[in-house]
Symmetry: C2
């Protein structure tokens, strides 16, 4: 009898709350899907600003754009948080010409981010094909004086494409120094992609200071297949590689922050963000214009629906994620200095694709709590909230107690465009982008309303 009474007392309350949330989330969805703010902002960012390499004029233009947009929300404080940035520049038009059994072939290449070019003279050397670091070690005596062609392929059987990226990314990041250790004079890599086109994909690398800083570039899959085929047929391959990457003097960039004070727990912070910088090859529409404008949409929607946040909500357009991470580092550093209390942080940095779910750095009570919201979200495409990765700009916040969370859109198309010239506004679908923002806004609403 007691039990029945309890059920009687609790059930209506629970269903009233669920119903109220369901209705408010429907308002959120309707506002976003009809208003299209994130999509309009993405068009501006891509077409009026364009590529936003750290330290470039466009990066500063993007910062000004972010500030101007945030200034439109009365009562929201706008902060430009200074970050010291290293400034890598491409320095010239990358070029590579392969000679295969005496026949010349232009390769469509892009220098890797942070790599040092050999300039107009470039490097010219015979090429050795290496499929893995294991093979590199076994054949270390053959490396000297050569250009190493890292031919590691995406594993197409991995449905979650970020796992394929994770498995090959190390050749881009540490491949040049690993090869230089054995006397290589340059590195070319098969791009980290399963695209059906031939666009080369850049991305960060880092040198080990113990070895010469040799030039390094990526090529698209069609060119990589041609090179591989030459090796299969025992044809001699050499490459003339001209890249011009170098650093210019350090400068100052900014995290652009909109801070919306909470009414009940103003000292507790919920961060939502993406990174404002991109590579120089394209508009950075998916990476990470999408994450920026979706984060801005969270503010625009909750604000325009008259929502009063209980916790302080910060939208952060992070600086320098692609080739330094200065923005995320600075944000964490300031949080520590000011002894800030960070409740929750959500990053969108996996593209503006149709939503699938979220991952968080928890496998306990908080995960269970967030999973209980899935029935409210799955009509908008989210069926899964699991333990997993967050985002490069926010991951440090877990060290100071935050639950950090990554938005997970469908990953099938991301690496087609990632860090390539095809990452443009036209390749972002309006409804997919907006539907991602719907789920992000709904999750933030629930986290703010019910806490963690």
């Amino acid at each position: 009898m007691k039990k029945l009474l309890l059920v009687f007392l609790l059930s209506p309350l629970f269903s009233v709350a669920q119903n109220e949330d369901s209705l408010f989330i429907k308002k959120i969805a309707d506002q976003i899907l009809t208003g299209g703010y994130a999509y309009d902002k993405l068009r501006e960012l891509c077409k009026q600003v364009g590529p936003r390499l750290t330290g470039s004029q466009q990066m500063y233009k993007a910062e000004a754009w972010g500030i101007a947009n945030f200034n439109k929300f009365n009562g929201v404080q706008v902060i430009a948080q200074e970050c010291k940035i290293k400034r890598w520049v491409r320095g010239g038009a990358d070029k590579a010409v392969a000679t295969i059994a005496g026949k010349k072939m232009n390769l469509d290449i892009t220098a890797l981010g942070n790599s040092m070019g050999a300039g107009a003279k470039g490097v010219s050397a015979p090429v050795i094909l290496i499929n893995s670091f294991d093979e590199l070690e076994k054949r270390k005596s053959e490396i000297k004086g050569k250009i190493v062609f890292y031919n590691a392929k995406f594993d197409n059987t991995l449905v979650e494409t970020f796992y394929a990226y994770g498995a090959t990314g190390r050749y881009r990041w540490m491949g040049p120094s690993r090869a230089a250790k054995y006397g290589a004079v340059g590195v070319v890599i098969r791009s980290m992609t399963h695209a059906t086109d031939n666009h080369p994909h850049t991305g960060s690398m880092g040198y080990n200071d113990s070895f010469p800083k040799i030039p390094a570039a990526a090529m698209g899959l069609a060119d990589a297949d041609k090179l591989e085929s030459a090796f299969t047929n025992n044809k001699p391959v050499s490459i003339q590689l001209n890249t011009y990457g170098h650093y210019i003097s350090d400068s100052i960039g900014h995290n652009i922050i909109a801070e919306w004070k909470g009414s009940e727990h103003p000292e507790q912070i919920i961060t939502i963000g993406g990174h404002l910088d991109s590579w120089d090859l394209a508009e950075g529409a998916h990476d990470d214009g999408a994450g920026c404008v979706q984060s801005m949409q969270v503010l625009q929607t909750l604000y325009s629906l008259g929502y009063q946040p209980k916790h302080t909500i910060r939208i952060v357009l992070f600086c320098n994620e692609e080739n330094g991470g200065a923005g995320g580092d600075k944000y964490l550093e300031e949080a520590k200095v000011k002894n800030e209390k960070h409740l929750f942080a959500l990053e969108s940095d996996e593209g503006g694709f149709t939503p699938r779910g979220f991952t968080i750095n928890d496998n306990g009570v908080t995960l269970k709590k967030l999973q209980s919201y899935i029935p409210l979200l799955n009509r908008y495409g989210v069926f899964s909230i699991e333990q997993g990765g967050d985002g490069a700009d926010i991951e440090g916040l877990k060290d100071i107690g935050a639950i950090t969370c990554g938005f997970k859109p469908d990953s099938q198309r991301y690496f087609d465009m990632h860090h390539a010239r095809s990452d443009v506004f036209e390749n972002v679908n309006k409804r997919e982008l907006l539907l991602g923002a719907v789920n992000m806004t709904a999750l933030i609403y629930l986290v703010d309303k019910y806490g963690l």
Copy 2:
């Protein structure tokens, strides 16, 4: 104690079966994601055959292509099932020129499928904007001598975009005769899409023989917005509309069928299909080349993995879905004549997008059984199996006892390209297409192995 014993006895068996299925489905996925058969076949169908309007030379070329592909499977019987088809042809280059307050503007239009053109003379008349059939009824006295512009818009708040299509599709299908009833001389409609481009989208309409068969065409959203804006600003609008649609003599098309006999229940049939015909404007890559090649992939994969089906598996490339439905009708008719036992039918006709789930015409035991397979499928993107629609070519099979099922890919991008010139191979993502085929093949494997 007994209960415990039962758990002890059953659990390992269950988990062995689950594990065996999980491993076989992993084999299916690996074979499809690395082999890419469906994608290669779609390229052939789109680029070597092209648009496949019912009765066109390309339709016959596509049939021959289907037969040639099916003939590669030894022991699989290939059947070309004759269907009597009506042959609508576009007959000329559609054209519409609007005059808005004396200023001329070309509209990018396409005649609706099955509509009758007024030829070189065309029709020229003042335009009346009508938002709904309710408004048409209220303003019926104003319709005579006019061209009716049906301005019904997609409801962007509907996350499942087929609901938006369902709500506006009736203006395309019955709008012309509803307007002709009140004396309209032509109809133009806002295309059934939420695309951000201006491509017009065709699609079937049907006349009511009681009223004049007036010309009817669709325009893209940018043009529709311009027309609407003219009405908002009280500017007079007229249109000169030239379309040339008409019927030529009836002919014979074919359902192209591959029949793979079952080893245990050869008399029980599982049908998997898509439709081979398309509109004439584009390659019909998503609609429904994708469904055809995914269905072919089911056969190619199970066959190449050495699977022996228990039930008879039929892959059917249906004829004439777009503007007649003769293929689906004929398939059902023959099934009735031969008293065939149809266990299950699966159609893929919602595009080659990332998979979300399946819908079936059952809300009981079979639904529960299929839902129990979700844990085996969700690593490949399927999280939902619900009661719902199947597919136009197979829906009749439920009348003879089949469970009919529709594959549900993500619907956000479908109506961007549906029946428009943008429905081309380049707009199909390889991995999304293949992942759909993975889930279709896995479901067919489970249905065949365990029955319904």
